[in-house]
């Protein structure tokens, strides 16, 4: 492993605590990923990235910053990467997926805040995540109450820009989101010092669309009865795509997809025939949150699709790049982004339609709807999700969990029982 200590020091990180974090990660990676058999070879890229997750990409970002480029940290798939890329900025995801950061978050947030928020705040204030240190500016959004208020706290420590996400999906809301994007673009121009043009934005749209298409190719391979990749491996790919350079990400996903398509032709599956196929839906699974997938895939089932922001919602729907003016393109962006069926919208029937459609496309035998503890939005929506799925005759298991390991046994019992039920 390269020596990144100097870099972390320069980033003002708390090296002592960070060492502790660095010690637990390899064990987790080993337990969750390396125990799998017959993994696609192309996973080597993501294995390398995760093994040095606080080294390789942060070092690249710092090099780019030295050239004058700005890094924007985001927390939600509503923030349009295209605008930032068009102004030669760099986007990095900033979601905390580890229990390690939760206590730090609880120092300033109520205990009954969702762990994603607590971990994100803890990662910043505890100075133990290089990405949270590197970002020049954070871009937040008004999706859930917890995040809105947490951004106020983060805003005291780091420059913060908030985008106002509509709560409904009427035509006027789509117009409003377009206005928000246009205003954000001005801010991005100001921060990066680069003027936007329709051509630049079109090119950025093309880049991000290519990344979406590449990710979709990987996901499409999971629709095959002969399943060429595990849920855990795909989840890792998706999680890291939030941090990676979009063009390299597309290239790597396409390389993986090539291998998966070949595997399907050769009849290479990662699970025995008849293994129950699970679609997972709910709140995002930020890196390194692999708990749910790991339990499912060591309980005799396999995850074939994630209807979540770390899943299909990240890459479904392309942006129309045919517009000629910035205004047209902002509208096209708004239309694409407003197709995201996050539970922060009311009403939100699109999510249920998506789950049912995806369950069929991916030939899922059952659905696991899992939300993070204290996420009211997704928790409340579970009831309508379960009712709709039952009406379709698709078995569903609703779960709630956080980042702690203490409920792993109870989760396993429920998941094993669900798999036994599917096996009949």
């Amino acid at each position: 492993m390269a020596d990144y200590v100097k870099m972390w020091e320069n980033l003002g990180m708390d090296l002592e605590s960070h060492d502790m974090l660095c010690q637990v990660l390899p064990t987790a990676v080993g337990d969750v990923f390396m125990t799998q058999e017959n993994r696609p070879k192309a996973m080597d890229f993501w294995d390398l990235v995760i093994s040095e997750v606080h080294g390789i990409r942060p070092a690249e970002l710092i090099e780019e910053q030295k050239k004058g480029r700005k890094v924007f940290g985001t927390f939600c798939v509503f923030v349009p990467d295209e605008v930032i890329i068009a102004a030669d900025g760099i986007v990095t995801g900033l979601c905390g997926g580890s229990q390690f950061w939760v206590p730090g978050g609880e120092e300033v947030l109520p205990k009954n805040t969702c762990p994603l928020i607590k971990a994100s705040v803890g990662a910043r204030l505890g100075r133990t995540c290089p990405f949270f240190r590197i970002a020049d500016v954070y871009v937040g959004e008004t999706t859930c109450d917890g995040k809105k208020k947490a951004y106020e706290i983060l805003g005291q420590d780091v420059p913060m820009y908030i985008m106002d996400v509509p709560q409904m999906k009427r035509p006027k809301d789509i117009l409003k989101w377009k206005e928000e994007i246009a205003e954000f673009a001005e801010k991005v121009e100001e921060i990066t010092g680069n003027k936007l043009s329709a051509d630049k934005l079109k090119e950025a749209i093309r880049i991000v669309n290519e990344k979406r298409k590449a990710m979709k190719r990987v996901y499409d391979a999971r629709k095959s009865v002969c399943l060429p990749i595990s849920g855990r491996d795909t989840l890792l790919m998706t999680q890291i795509s939030f941090f990676d350079d979009p063009e390299r990400c597309a290239k790597m996903c396409n390389r993986l997809a090539d291998e998966l398509e070949q595997r399907i032709k050769d009849g290479v599956s990662v699970v025995p025939e008849g293994t129950k196929r699970i679609l997972v839906t709910g709140t995002p699974l930020a890196v390194p949150n692999w708990k749910l997938h790991n339990i499912i895939e060591t309980s005799g089932a396999v995850v074939v699709c994630e209807e979540m922001c770390t899943g299909t919602r990240y890459f479904e729907n392309l942006v129309d790049d045919s517009g000629e003016t910035l205004d047209d393109l902002y509208m096209a962006l708004s239309e694409r982004y407003m197709k995201n069926n996050c539970a922060c919208f009311t009403p939100n029937p699109g999510r249920i339609d998506d789950i049912i459609r995806l369950a069929k496309e991916y030939k899922a035998d059952g659905v696991i709807d899992c939300s993070l503890k204290f996420c009211g939005l997704y928790d409340i929506e579970k009831k309508s999700v379960a009712e709709a799925l039952k009406a379709e005759g698709i078995p569903v298991l609703s779960l709630e969990t956080d980042y702690e390991d203490s409920d792993a046994g109870q989760l396993r019992t429920r998941i094993e029982a669900f798999v036994e039920m599917l096996n009949g």
Binding site: A386, K390, S398, S406, Q410, T413, R414, A417, E420, M421
Partner: protein, 258 residues
């Protein structure tokens, strides 16, 4: 009869239940003992106590279930308590369409069974509200046994405790004691809070019109059964062997396994 036996061991959080059936499905042996500190030791002790001709029979199969199911080293297989309770209840109640309410030591389960197979289930969350554990802690606070508390509750009048969390409910109970509330009324409130919690959980699944059957450690307490009947507004069936439902189901899985 081919002389094959199925041993089902249900290691619960408080009690370990064991049932042996023969290949005809007849119960030939059963055992109930506290789980104690170590599930592994308990499992080993159970094995030692099994009738030698069954323990040493190479055709005997062992299936473990319950939260300590992974701590039974000699088990041929582990099956979750949901599947085992369902299978056991189908047999005990002689029904193929039913709903099982299992109030266990650590958790409460509701299982919907149609055509003899599980179609839906729900288990309560991390906390012990609405479980046998809750009843035990509260009985302790009143310095009586759980069974005595249930008898007491029968004589009580309507009283409410609002907290579902065991820790908070305990302070409420202490408060009520301090205020001089009759113990019978407090007992009434405690049992009421358990059955109300079960009723709330039931709102999340489709019990429909099929019979409700009570299994688990509380099935001996006729007052709990009666209270469940009141809140659900219909009959709740139970049988004395209902606390062995999980072990019986496991024994059936054992006989079925190769």
């Amino acid at each position: 009869m081919d002389g094959k036996y199925g041993v089902g061991i249900d290691i619960g959080s408080t009690c370990a239940k064991t049932v042996i059936i023969d290949s005809e499905g007849m119960i030939v042996w059963k055992d109930l003992r506290p789980t104690g500190w170590s599930s592994v030791d308990t499992a080993e002790a159970i094995r030692k106590d099994l009738p030698p001709e069954i323990r040493n029979n190479e055709k005997t199969r062992f299936v473990a279930t319950g939260y300590g199911r992974v701590s039974v080293p000699f088990a041929d297989k582990c099956v979750t308590e949901i599947s085992c309770h369902a299978k056991g209840a189908v047999k005990l109640f002689g029904l193929r369409d039913l709903n099982v309410i299992d109030i266990g030591g650590q958790d409460t389960k509701l299982i919907v069974i149609r055509g003899g197979a599980v179609t839906e289930f729900i288990m309560n969350d991390k906390c012990s509200a609405g479980t046998g554990r809750f009843l035990e802690v509260m009985a302790n606070t009143l310095s009586v046994s759980p069974a005595a508390m249930c008898r007491m509750a029968e004589q009580g009048n309507e009283t409410r405790i609002s907290s579902l969390c065991t820790v908070f409910a305990e302070s409420e109970v202490i408060n009520l004691i301090g205020m001089g509330t009759p113990r019978e009324n407090i007992a009434w409130a405690i049992v009421d809070s358990i059955v109300q919690k079960v009723k709330t959980q039931a709102g999340k699944i489709r019990l429909e019109k099929e019979p409700l059957c009570l299994t688990g450690g509380l099935c001996d307490f006729s007052y709990v059964q009666k209270k469940l009947e009141i809140v659900f507004g219909r009959d709740v069936l139970t049988t004395p062997d209902a606390r062995f439902a999980g072990a019986l189901g496991a024994a059936e899985y054992a006989v079925l396994s190769g």
